[in-house]
């Protein structure tokens, strides 16, 4: 497996690009790349030439996360002003605006069926679940406070929830906190199941394997990428190699490889059979905040694509094969 650089856009945004997600292909158009930046805009790009399709403005502070509905029709963008804006991808019409208290909106992801939007709740130490048909808050999954803590130590910054990931069957939700713990929830019963230990620094990105519903990958500021058996609560493997914080991890649609972006300015491709990095791409000039594999599907699409976005305001597209 390898990555080959296809296209890079310098100055894709006016400021650092913090978030990237692919919008799945629909019947009328191929998959698009959605990027969000500190410059308060969200942009849509058409592969492979990365032609700018749309520029959405309206957020008041930097855009911290973007997510796309599995149907490819709707997408959401979240910003530091703690608003989540849900919009129609093709027309940019606003469908809903979800409000939350300050610093309680971080990463988010739609569930595989598209009926729930899970938003990492930041300082609220919880995940908020929004129903996508009515846009009402249906549940808040709270991380239980450790027994020994003092009453005033209200999770404070320890359990600050940064990232979320859905299991491919939609039954489990994982979230990563600033103290390095990963919490697993059973969604149907809205119950906390257990913690996954291993990291000691913020877990900024999580992703479940598409081929094995128990396997969860996590990227942490400690420079390692961990592979967990989320049901059995055990650490299967750890991959090291990045020189600095690992900011983002994504798994390829065939489940054979993962890609990571780091603050050491590189993107690495890891082979899961060998549990080692097989390739390092160094074309970015600053921290790589997000990596995302294009989801399968769409007319005439054979090749895999990986996108990476960086603090250097650029977006890169690679061919994955």
């Amino acid at each position: 497996m390898k990555l080959a650089g296809l296209k890079s856009i310098e100055n894709a945004h006016d400021e650092s690009v913090w978030a990237a997600a692919w919008v799945p292909a629909t019947e009328s158009r191929p998959a698009l790349l959605l990027t969000g930046s500190l410059d308060e805009t969200v942009k849509l790009w058409m592969p492979d030439e990365l032609v700018l399709q749309q520029n959405n403005t309206g957020h008041c502070l930097g855009v911290v996360a973007v997510a796309a509905h599995p149907s490819g029709i709707i997408a959401a963008s979240a910003s530091l002003d703690s608003f989540v804006r849900v919009f129609d991808v093709d027309t940019n019409a606003t469908i809903a605006t979800l409000e939350a208290p300050p610093s309680e909106v971080w990463q988010m992801q739609f569930d595989p069926k598209g009926s729930i939007l899970a938003v990492a709740g930041g300082s609220s130490a919880s995940i908020k679940l929004w129903d996508t048909a009515t846009w009402k808050l249906i549940d808040t999954l709270a991380i239980p406070r450790p027994e020994s803590s003092k009453p005033t130590d209200r999770g404070g910054n320890k359990k600050f929830v940064l990232s979320v990931a859905w299991s491919p069957d939609g039954r489990r939700l994982a979230c990563g906190s600033m103290d390095g713990t990963i919490s697993i929830f059973d969604v149907n019963r809205a119950k906390f199941l257990h913690h996954l230990e291993g990291h000691y620094m913020p877990v900024r990105s999580l992703v479940y394997s598409p081929v094995d519903p128990r396997v969860l990958f996590s990227a942490s500021d400690d420079g390692h990428v961990h592979m967990y058996d989320a049901e059995g609560k055990s650490l299967i493997g750890a991959m090291s190699g990045h020189a600095s914080w690992v900011l983002s991890v994504d798994v390829s649609p065939d489940g054979a490889a993962i890609a990571t972006g780091s603050s050491d300015k590189t993107v690495r491709l890891w082979d899961l059979n060998m549990r080692a990095a097989v390739q390092t791409m160094s074309n970015h000039a600053d921290q790589v905040w997000g990596v995302a594999f294009r989801p399968p599907g769409g007319a005439g699409v054979r090749a895999g694509r990986l996108a990476s976005v960086s603090d250097d305001k650029s977006i890169s597209l690679y061919d994955y094969s």
């Binding site: 629909t26 019947e27 009328s28 509905h69 599995p70 149907s71 029709i73 709707i74 129609d88 019409a93 469908i95 069926k113 598209g114 009926s115 129903d131 996508t132 048909a133 009515t134």
Partner: protein
């Protein structure tokens, strides 16, 4: 007597099948009856999953109503049924879709809200992703529900979106609101609301002598900017393409309120333009249940075959396969009159089409002069 004049050949009304405009409590009642009937058959001694009987929206079920005492002919749908059945493997999803939309409409009616088709699509996409993947499916299913319950979309709580625009010498007043002077609305005109109830209650005043229906938004804007409606006292209306029900309804209301004003259409010289003209004039099959009433006596002002001498040879572009398809379906319609049929023949034979913009070859204000000349010469069919 006036109603008798407006009505058709006396017996054809018995064949006519229409969608009623009913209040929300009656719509809910119809939904409840449909569900109860379904459950009754399911619970009966010989249980069965009944098929859904929908009024067929095909050419085979359409009839033509030729106005005897009026000049308005229209297409309406008769009582032929098609069914949606859970038993046929390929059509099972369509069956379920109808019930999902019925459920959604019931909720909307209970909450006394109004939603657009697009909003309904978002809700259905998120709540039943395995059944709905695109807007077209939702629109078709809504038409199925209209055909099942025999009531208009509006009665189900589905609002039409605002698409058309109107400008010119027209004063519109919503009850208890300020009067809007359409000529002062700028070059895009006054947007026609999608709310049929609102359009029903609007009070209209005019001193115009003609109503001009324009196919394309760009032409509408050009005419509005040049204030053509002051040179020729007129009202300009456009649906920005294929007419939506709100624009058709407003045109119909104008034709009833100001019966002396001839309605003239300005469309491109191609089968699609003629199809747009015919939809305003006769109605359509797709919306036949609801919108058959809104047919108006629209006359064809331009572009027509004899205007081709005004435009240069190079502006004639070849017909696309889609145009030929539209031409074929128009030709098979029995409602098309002789001279329209001849024009269509000429279009197909020459294999070319022309757009109204071709008239700009002679200068940007030629369009206004062209319209004025044709109106003065009463050169419309």
């Amino acid at each position: 007597m006036a109603d008798l004049c407006r009505s058709s050949t006396f017996f054809s009304d018995q064949n006519l099948c229409n969608a009623d405009i009913i209040g929300s409590s009656e719509a809910r009642a119809r939904i409840e009856v449909a569900v109860l009937n379904f459950l009754k058959i399911l619970n009966s001694p010989s249980p069965a999953i009944s098929d859904l009987p929908l009024i067929s929206r095909r050419w085979s079920n359409s009839r033509v109503n030729r106005g005897l005492l009026t000049e308005v002919s229209c297409i309406f749908l008769s009582h032929s049924f098609c069914t949606r059945s859970l038993m046929r493997p390929n059509a099972a999803k369509a069956f379920v879709r109808v019930w999902k939309v019925v459920e959604m409409c019931f909720q909307i009616l209970v909450q006394e809200k109004r939603v657009t088709q697009r909003e309904l699509f978002y809700k259905l996409l998120c709540s039943s992703p395995q059944y709905f993947t695109c807007q077209l499916q939702v629109n078709r299913t809504i038409q199925d529900v209209v055909a099942l319950l025999r009531c208009s979309r509006y009665s189900l709580g589905i609002m039409a979106s605002s698409r058309g625009a109107v400008t010119g010498r027209l004063l519109l007043q919503e009850p208890n609101q300020e009067t809007v002077d359409c000529s002062a609305c700028g070059s895009s005109g006054h947007a026609i609301s999608g709310d049929m109830n609102l359009l029903e209650r609007m009070v209209m005043k005019t001193d115009a002598r003609y109503i001009i229906v324009v196919e394309k938004h760009a032409i509408f804007q050009r005419l509005a900017e040049d204030r053509v409606f002051n040179q020729i006292p007129s009202i300009l209306i456009t649906a920005k393409g294929y007419p939506d029900i709100a624009t058709r309804f407003l045109l119909y209301r104008m034709s009833r309120a100001f019966p002396d004003l001839p309605i003239l259409a300005l469309v491109d010289w191609n089968p699609a333009g003629l199809a747009i003209l015919c939809t305003f004039k006769f109605g359509s099959i797709g919306m036949g249940l609801e919108a058959y009433r809104y047919a108006c006596n629209v006359k064809w002002l331009g572009l027509r075959g004899d205007d081709l001498q005004l435009i240069p040879e190079e502006s004639l572009i070849p017909l696309k396969p889609r145009d030929l398809q539209i031409a074929k379906s128009l030709k098979s319609s029995e409602i098309l009159e002789e001279n329209y049929r001849n024009e269509l023949e000429v279009m197909v034979q020459s294999g070319r089409r022309a757009e109204i913009e071709a008239l700009y070859f002679r200068g940007y204000n030629f369009l206004g002069k062209y319209i004025a000349k044709k109106i003065v010469q009463a050169n419309y069919v």
